[in-house]
Assembly symmetry: C2
Homo-oligomer: 179 residues x 2
């Protein structure tokens, strides 16, 4: 193999290695059946609130992208602004090994998201896109493009809160104290 | 008032307004009695885990600065690296208004922090600095420089875990799945 061929081969190898590293991340997660792409990087989003669902023994953290965080901290959440994405990360709860009276996350269950876009999602009557990815392998949830109907049915009691259960938790450094 | 005087007055007003906005944030929070400064910007840190303390009816989110997040996601938590800061934000828990079987944050209780610096904090036997700020007005907790003794006594059961109760919760996108 001459020098040029070696350089070409090494370059191809380097390119291939780069692509492998890049595709090892979230971009291998398929979209939801309704066309919503998996929100890469959601684990880096900031906290809006947390909850403990005692009925199904799960703990949840509710995260927001920058648009959602700005809305939550300034109290503009009814309606939430277009561009806001809320993410709920869900784990089974279990007794904390070294503090028996505390519950902490154990097995990862799923991550689920609401995407506010009042034009794109006008047709489903909520102005939100809805999607969930299940398990550690993050499989898209639902059989077809109507996957949101199950989400919407469950969220109907909070239709008057722009379909959102979560009330932003108070972080005194960045939000006004309650009156 | 002549034009120059108007410009000078407006400039001073603008400067004053800028300073007021800047000082309205965290920099008004006094340090802990052991000299630890309030970690400004902690509300923007990323999530390590969450918990529900059923014994005192509080919900907690455990946040980490960048050093702590990198350690948590790569499994380097025993010991945690110097520079890591863990923050625990605590609220009283209350039934979620629209989902009675769920607990959600209500009144803000306090934020408390562990600062890993094995040299600075060698003398207290843990390698961590400990501090807490109470209530929405974020008053430093403790009477004197020995404030950490109470924290350390409570954390002694997890001495073998580098004094940390929290196990990082699994975020599949950014952490290897458990074996």
């Amino acid at each position: 193999m001459n020098t040029l061929a070696r350089i070409a081969t090494l370059s191809l190898f380097a390119l291939s290695a780069t692509c492998t590293i890049a595709s090892a991340a979230d971009d291998s997660v398929p979209p939801s059946p309704n066309g919503i792409e998996f929100p890469q990087g959601y684990a880096d989003w900031r906290v809006i609130s947390i909850s403990d669902r005692t009925d199904n023994k799960t703990l949840r953290v509710i995260l927001g992208n920058d648009v959602a965080i700005n809305a939550a901290r300034s109290g503009h959440t009814n309606p939430w602004p277009d561009g806001a994405i809320l993410g709920k990360v869900v784990w089974k709860s279990a007794a904390e090994a070294n503090w028996g009276a505390a519950l902490a996350p154990s097995k990862f269950v799923h991550s689920e998201f609401m995407f506010k876009d009042s034009k794109r999602w006008a047709d489903n009557g909520t102005g939100w896109g809805w999607a969930r990815w299940k398990g550690v392998d993050q499989k898209p949830y639902g059989k077809d493009a109507n996957v949101a109907q199950e989400c919407i049915a469950c969220h109907t009691p909070v239709k008057g809160r722009d379909w959102v259960f979560t009330t932003p938790a108070l972080f005194p450094s960045v939000m006004p104290a309650p009156q």
